[in-house]
């Protein structure tokens, strides 16, 4: 069965534009946040969550193993009116503040607070196994970064996930975060398991990814994304992994946003 995202490409582009602006503004306002990975992840997570949450009210669980991208998740939760509080209270001095890594109380479908790389997949796997024992087939979506693929727990988990046939969808935000790295981690994974390799800037690829997520059994999807995507002349620069734009840089970034979303 094919699942269709009914929202138009233009509407998603518009949401991505708003999302990018508010992530940059928030990071500048609170002087915190990992903007590079938050924006790269949003390229596929925003349309995905629009489909799952707004269009389909779908039941699933989420683990944001790259927990430093919390600002991206909180921004999407705000934009889609799922929960505005995490974004509004992100790194504030309020009593109800949310710190810089992902907190499970931000979203009821989140399985865990996260931030240490390599923790998400084993935990997602344990939860998926528990669901399998209960004959519940709702998927667990686990989002990793490409740098995180080097963690030993990823490889250990893959040994079990496919053997146990767990309903886990592993999504990799492959933004080439470790650009000086000589490891060909994507090739290594592909020699180990079947991987669906998609373009995170292609609307049709994102739709393909959504269909993979809605299918049964374990799947690993790589979304090729761009760190600080859509902010011309700032893209793919390692200093924007955790760098915070000052006022001048912020204004320049905001003036240089151009959302690319191919057909």
């Amino acid at each position: 069965m094919d699942y269709l995202i009914s929202t138009s490409k233009e509407e998603i582009k518009n949401l991505l534009d708003q999302n990018t602006c508010q992530i940059l503004r928030k990071a500048n306002e609170v002087n915190a946040g990992h903007i590079g990975g938050s924006i790269s992840m949003s390229q596929f997570l925003l349309p995905l969550m629009y489909f799952l949450e707004i269009e389909n009210h779908f039941e699933y669980k989420l683990v944001l193993s790259k927990g430093h991208a919390s600002l991206g998740l909180y921004s999407i939760l705000y934009l889609l009116k799922i929960n505005k509080q995490p974004f509004l209270n992100y790194c504030t001095k309020n009593k109800n503040s949310f710190h810089g890594h992902t907190c499970s109380k931000s979203f009821k479908k989140l399985l865990a607070s996260s931030g240490s790389l390599g923790h998400g997949l084993p935990l997602a796997m344990g939860y998926a196994y528990a669901q399998k024992l209960k004959n519940n087939n709702k998927p667990v979506i686990c989002i990793l970064g490409d740098g995180e693929l080097q963690e030993g727990t990823l490889w250990e988990s893959l040994l079990h996930i496919f053997n146990m046939q767990l309903n886990i969808k592993v999504i990799v935000d492959f933004n080439n975060s470790i650009e000086t790295n000589t490891l060909k981690i994507d090739d290594a994974i592909k020699s180990f398991i079947e991987v669906i390799d998609l373009d995170g800037t292609s609307f049709s690829d994102i739709k393909k990814g959504i269909n993979m997520i809605m299918g049964k059994g374990p799947k690993m999807i790589i979304f090729r994304t761009i760190k600080l995507a859509n902010v011309k002349s700032y893209e793919s620069k390692p200093q924007w992994h955790a760098g915070i734009p000052n006022k001048e840089e912020l204004n320049d970034m905001l003036n240089n946003i151009s959302i690319k979303l191919e057909d």
Partner: protein
């Protein structure tokens, strides 16, 4: 102690469908029947402790009570961050059965020694740490953890306490021996039958305490002996209230003691009347890079830390 615990758990698996046992390639022989009869709930997860602990976190979040069994340094050293984040911080209760704490594998060298497990777990707020003195107590403590599905770390020792019970009055039990699993177990108190006017207190933390040179002598010279089986906020509070009644206190701590001492001092400092002298005997913090008998390490390589 290991066999008794694993046998007890094997018996519980058919009765309690929440239990899932994960073996870190250890205890396969003892659990073979349970593995055969309940293959989806008794799993040899393999030699991947960090992933196994994370998996436990997910199982726990999914409504099960995982029981995890492996060797102390591989669990607590290698999987420390997973215990901290996936179990404690994310509040996913699990029973860790940890075999070989301190120097149970004394002859195998530093890779297999782990005397800092309890201190390290206290440092990340592990709420319930157990080091039972006997196999009967170990089984009761296991039952208690499973029954109440609490975050629990049980240090299985290769030793049991050799204690001349007949020479002592068991003056206090804060639990009903017949309903152990309904109570959290703090400590037992014993007083010497003869000559019980002494003003000093002896506290022993787990069965390996008996290997310190000071053990025998202190048994006969102490007005009261407390057996601490559980380290929790509640048990430490109770212990401190007992300590304040004495002039001298000797703590026999058969592991790296800093986490425990920090907790004790924090509470003692809040009191007006405090003992004149508190000493802790504990092993030296060495890499014991030769083949030692366990008893030798405790007898010949102990330190004395003066707390007050």
């Amino acid at each position: 102690m290991r066999n008794s615990i694993l046998k007890s758990i094997s018996n519980k698996i058919p009765l309690n469908e929440k239990i899932i046992v994960l073996l870190g390639d250890l205890g396969i022989f003892q659990m073979r029947e349970a593995m055969k009869n309940f293959p989806s709930r008794v799993i040899n997860f393999g030699i991947m402790e960090q992933t196994m602990i994370g998996f436990c976190g997910g199982l726990s979040r999914g409504g099960y009570y995982p029981v995890l069994y492996s060797i102390t340094p591989f669990l607590v050293d290698r999987g420390y961050e997973q215990i901290k984040i996936d179990l404690i911080y994310n509040d996913n209760p699990c029973l860790i059965l940890s075999a070989g704490g301190s120097f149970d594998y004394s002859t195998l060298g530093p890779t297999h020694h782990c005397q800092h497990d309890i201190s390290n777990l206290l440092a990340v707020n592990h709420p319930f740490i157990i080091h039972p003195f006997t196999k009967e107590e170990a089984v009761h403590q296991t039952d208690y953890s499973i029954e109440n599905q609490i975050q629990s770390y049980l240090r299985i020792s290769s030793s049991e306490l050799n204690f001349p019970k007949d020479q002592y009055h068991n003056i206090h039990n804060n639990f009903d021996e017949n309903q152990l699993f309904k109570n959290d177990l703090y400590f037992k108190k014993f007083r010497l039958k003869k000559d019980n006017n002494k003003k000093n207190l002896l506290v022993i933390f787990g069965p390996d305490s008996q290997f310190f040179k000071e053990f025998e002598k202190s048994l006969n010279n102490s007005g009261l002996i407390i057996f601490m089986s559980v380290i929790s906020d509640k048990s430490i509070k109770l212990l401190v209230s007992e300590m304040l009644e004495f002039e001298e206190v000797l703590l026999l701590i058969p592991y790296e003691p800093s986490g425990l001492i920090t907790k004790l001092v924090r509470l003692i400092k809040q009191s007006e009347k405090i003992p004149k002298k508190i000493l802790a005997i504990h092993p030296k913090n060495y890499f014991f890079d030769q083949s030692y008998e366990k008893r030798t390490i405790f007898e010949d390589f102990s330190d004395c830390t003066k707390i007050i």
